[in-house]
């Protein structure tokens, strides 16, 4: 008795020859780029970069033209140009990350994260004074913004996903429009509405209000997406058991979407943590601890960076880089948290 075995074939996958050709063309292109740079007066990383892409395109076209003609050349060109675009975008990101890390790390020391600037100025040598007051101030602002905007955002999202009232379309549109409000306008608004009209003066609370305007749309949109992912069956099961809509939402829908809602909060915080412009109108600047959120100016990391940048001396600029490094680390941690929680929320479905 003979058995026939079926050999697995994958006609769409690149064959060994194809791969060898791709590898060969890349190697040849690198060689060409290096040779051209060595021979001609062109220099610099950019020259290598663009020459490599041009050489790669030419060499690859020669390989392809026999098999597919002009159509193949156009196809190859499109593939390489899209790759080029993606590479340029990632280069910008890595440049920013690298600049922050390499420049920021120089000014970091224990004093920088454990002291305040009460007895030091931006222009003192590094090692004297730190930004603990600013870290605490930023945390306070974030806490205030969370307390106000998370309920607001999640309730708006619940209206859009659970109640689906008549105004859904309008609200959806307004939330999208609100996410485009420039940060400087948010600061101006709080100044115009509160500081010019009431005895309240700049404080962490007002800063939190300004940041709320920027945070609510982010929280709403993410929360809405997450709540939409909760299966309809769960809601119907809850209602079929005789629960009221309120009970279904509170005991079934929201717990099911819990990690997603946390992601929404974190994304909102990441959006506002580095906002500078509104703080200049509503929070002011301060060099020491201020634990009263309702009274008095407050130091924050973005304003420290801002003053360091405007200060212009090597010391103040160094402080600015180190402060932004601290802020970036905070933002990155939140980003990773949001990602892991978010992907968990997706997987459960």
């Amino acid at each position: 008795m003979s058995t026939t075995s079926v050999k697995q074939v994958r006609p769409w996958a690149p064959s060994v020859t194809d791969r060898a050709m791709t590898g060969l063309s890349v190697v040849l292109a690198i060689l060409t780029a290096v040779i051209i740079v060595a021979v001609t007066p062109m220099k610099g990383k950019l020259a290598y970069f663009f020459l490599f892409f041009i050489a790669w395109f030419v060499i690859d076209s020669i390989f392809v033209v026999r098999k597919m003609g002009a159509k193949g050349i156009r196809d190859g060109l499109a593939a390489k140009v899209t790759l080029l675009g993606a590479v340029i975008v990632s280069m910008a990101v890595f440049s920013i990350l690298w600049a922050t890390i390499s420049r920021g790390i120089k000014g970091l020391n224990l004093a920088f994260v454990t002291q305040n600037m009460r007895n030091a100025s931006m222009f003192d040598p590094i090692g004297k004074g730190g930004i603990l007051h600013a870290i605490l101030g930023t945390l306070m602002l974030i806490a205030i913004a969370i307390i106000i905007s998370v309920p607001m955002g999640i309730l708006t999202a619940l209206y859009l996903t659970e109640i689906k009232g008549k105004a859904s379309g309008l609200i959806q549109f307004l939330v999208q429009a609100m996410s485009g409000v420039p940060s400087v306008v948010a600061g101006l608004f709080i100044y115009a509405a509160i500081i010019l009209n009431t005895p309240l003066r700049s404080s962490a609370f007002l800063g939190g209000l300004a940041l709320t305007i920027l945070m609510v749309p982010t929280v709403t949109r993410t929360a809405q997406e997450v709540l939409n992912l909760v299966p309809r069956d769960l809601r119907e099961a809850g209602l079929a058991m005789g629960a009221t809509q309120w009970k279904t939402v509170a005991l079934v829908v929201v717990p099911a979407a819990r990690s997603g809602l946390i992601t929404a909060t974190i994304l909102g915080v990441a959006r506002i943590a580095g906002e500078t412009a509104p703080l200049l109108f509503t929070v002011g600047v301060f060099d020491s601890y201020n634990f009263n959120p309702f009274k008095g100016d407050q130091g924050t990391i973005p304003t420290v960076v801002w003053r360091g940048l405007l200060g212009g001396t090597p010391e103040s600029v160094q402080r600015a880089w180190s402060a932004i490094f601290v802020l970036l680390v905070v933002v990155l941690i939140m980003f990773v948290l949001a990602r892991t929680l978010g992907s968990k929320a997706m997987k459960k479905k």
């Binding site: 549109f173 999208q176 940060s183 400087v184 306008v185 809509q245 600029v317």
Partner: protein, 328 residues
Amino acid sequence: MSVATPAKVTPPARVITTKPRVSDQIFRGIVTTFSFSALVILSLIALFLFLKGFNTLKEQGFGFITHFEWSVTQDAAGKDVTHFGLQAMLVGTVVISFVALFIAVPLSVLTALFLTFYAPERIKKILVTIVDLMAAFPSILYGLWGFFVLMPMAEYWAKLIHKWLGWIYIFDVPQSVYTRSPFIAGIVLSVMIIPIITSVSREVFSQTPLDRVQAAYALGATKWGMIRAVVLPFGAGGVVGGSMLGLGRAFGETVAVFSVLNIVFRTNFQILFTQGGNVASMIIQKWGEAGPAEISALMAAGLVLFILTLIVNFLANAVVNRTVKSGR
């Protein structure tokens, strides 16, 4: 033997009603009330900026938008004479934003195409993370980076452009100073708006109806042929909408632009030269030493900016929503 028949008990008829319980009514009431917070906040912003900027708008009239002078001087009697005009700043804002779009749109569309159709799964994941990360960077970080890292490089690029294309008016410069120009501010802004445009374009591209894609392949199209014949016509609306969302962000950007731009009240179209303007960063610049009259003018400027970004955003969202829906 007889079985006692149990007395038949008829339960009282249930009242069937569609009226929600009290708890539900409260729940719906609260949620509905809160859902209008966006409307309330947006109208309050417009209201208060209008109230506080009213004096300036009344005094300057239409000139607030068409004049380009910004000064507070005292006449012989010691009375303040004010000239507030936004024209230079509005033109500057548009110029910078268009430089940014000019750079960001091609790069974003290419990246989105690469992500949707070319990238292997692993690279795609990494690249999506990178683009999302870009959106989370604080704007002041872009300002620092733009000033200290990008500016030296961009100055060199600006000189190259001037050398080869200087005969075109916009690439000409009156003096050879290339730092702090609208060109550099535009590059910084372009990096800031790339994530928005990329993610919107990617979303729209990935909604391309699969049957059309497969039909193109079945007719023997190469990948690029398929993209050109199916994806680009389908996604064009989304790309336009995404670009407008980016434009809205670029209009309102403050600290990043302030860090790299030399703000001068003169209408300037020569993008490589070291003077330009931007409404948002002008507000920050003038804020420090502003008296009551000037604060009112800045509020009015804020109102103009607010309305401008709102209009751009409305249009953008309308375009994007329509495109995304048409694929379903």
